[in-house]
């Protein structure tokens, strides 16, 4: 379980407009590139001082590569990070205000309390 790394992926994609578009268009390729090139970057350190041991689990990689927000919820990804990035990527595909957010919620409708632990 590497919830922290899943959150780090969502966080670093969401804050970069180019990466938002890249992840929308090519999720599997973006996840593969990011895990290989970016996962170990410590955000406040020079690139040479990278972390050496971070990796996704198979289920985390598949959830991110599949744009599967339900699986990410089940894995304990931080729901604010997932929602914010999903709005950036997919709100444009819906005509009515909040339609994307309501569809996002409906796909999670089978989830009940307690929700998965989001502690990292």
């Amino acid at each position: 379980m590497s919830k922290y790394l899943v959150d780090k992926f969502l966080f670093t994609i969401d804050r970069d407009p180019e990466l938002v578009e890249r992840y929308r268009e090519d999720p599997a390729g973006t996840v593969e590139w990011w895990e290989r090139e970016q996962a170990g970057r410590i955000l406040n350190c020079p690139d040479a001082e990278a972390t050496t041991w971070l990796a996704f689990t198979e289920s985390e990689r598949a959830a991110l590569a599949g744009h599967d927000h339900v699986a990410l919820f089940e894995l304990g990804a931080h729901p604010f990070l997932t929602l914010t990035l999903w709005i950036a990527m997919f709100e444009r595909d819906h005509e009515e205000p909040l339609a994307m957010q309501l569809d996002y919620a409906a796909r999670l409708a089978h989830k009940s309390l307690p929700y998965p632990d989001i502690s990292t």
Binding site: Y4, F11, L43, F73, I87, A88, A105, P114, I118
Partner: protein
């Protein structure tokens, strides 16, 4: 000594700015009442003529990240740039530059640490909508220096509700004892029941109207003990998965003490309830 002229505790709704600026024919039906309520609330701050604002909010994974996460952080800088790309993108919020008040920041840090809060600090803090929403609603001229105080309501493990109340009490002591002639207002923003990224999000009301009604009563009556008896880190999951932001209201209750709010208002909106409270600890005409 400094005079604490007002304490404001309110929700921060990032959609207000854009909604309030829509032409009438494009505005949703609730917009006019929302704008009226915010204007009335703004007056509760304007009338006390503050010189400096102590502002409590929470970073939404903008500058503060899981590799180095403070529980309570005080900004100490002469200026604070504000709002982020994803807040422009999602909410249409403008970029802002807030003035800081380093002397009061330094006082809160030194005295707060000495009173048992190991406060983190930042000399280069870019604040987000938890700080800028109340600027846009109750001080839109953005003409006063601020001391931003961030709390962690977002990334577990979180401090417990009692700790938020205790920090509020300590901030009250510090402001009351600050050797200054200035008039201070404290403004804190949080949430009532709220769900983000879960099945209960963006419903016709907040996810738990019953919790919201109880919360409004606790705050309006200054019922700190009743609130603490009913609210725990664990219980806050039930009203909605982002309801831990209510602890910023509890911090402001600690700051206000066991006092009924002098002004209390709310507005039931889709997704979440808006709420507006003001206390005048030295009287409305102080």
């Amino acid at each position: 000594m400094a005079k604490l002229v007002a304490i404001l505790a309110t929700t921060h709704h990032p959609f207000y700015y854009r909604t309030s600026r829509l032409p009438a024919e494009q505005a949703p039906p609730f917009a006019a009442e929302w704008v009226r309520k915010v204007a009335a609330y703004r007056e509760t701050l304007t009338r006390v003529r503050p010189d400096v604002l102590v502002m409590v909010g929470s970073d939404h994974f903008h500058q503060l990240w899981l590799d180095n996460m403070p529980q309570f952080l005080v900004g100490k800088a002469p200026f604070y740039d504000a709002n982020y790309y994803n807040e422009e993108r999602e909410f249409g919020l403008p970029r802002l530059l807030l003035m800081g008040h380093e002397e009061l920041s330094a006082y809160i840090l030194r005295e707060g640490i000495d009173r048992g809060f190991d406060l983190a600090f930042s000399n280069e803090l870019r604040v987000d909508h938890s700080i800028t929403c109340p600027i846009l609603t109750v001080r839109p001229d953005n003409d006063l220096p601020v001391v931003p105080i961030y709390t962690n309501i977002f990334a577990p493990p979180l401090p417990r509700p009692e700790r938020f109340v205790a920090l509020g009490r300590t901030l009250r002591e510090l402001i009351d004892s600050w050797p200054s002639h200035l008039r201070v207002a404290a403004i804190g923003t949080g949430h009532l029941s709220l769900e983000l990224g879960g099945p209960r999000q963006f419903g016709p009301h907040g996810p738990d109207p019953e919790f919201d009604a109880r919360a409004v009563e606790w705050i309006a009556k200054g019922d700190i003990d009743g609130c603490l008896a009913n609210v725990t880190l664990e219980s806050l999951h039930e009203p909605g998965n982002a309801t831990h932001g209510f602890m910023d209201f509890m911090l402001m209750m600690g700051l206000a003490g066991y006092a009924e709010a002098d002004y209390a208002d709310s507005l039931d909106l889709f997704h979440t309830m808006e709420a507006y409270f003001t206390w005048y600890p030295n009287g409305a005409d102080a």
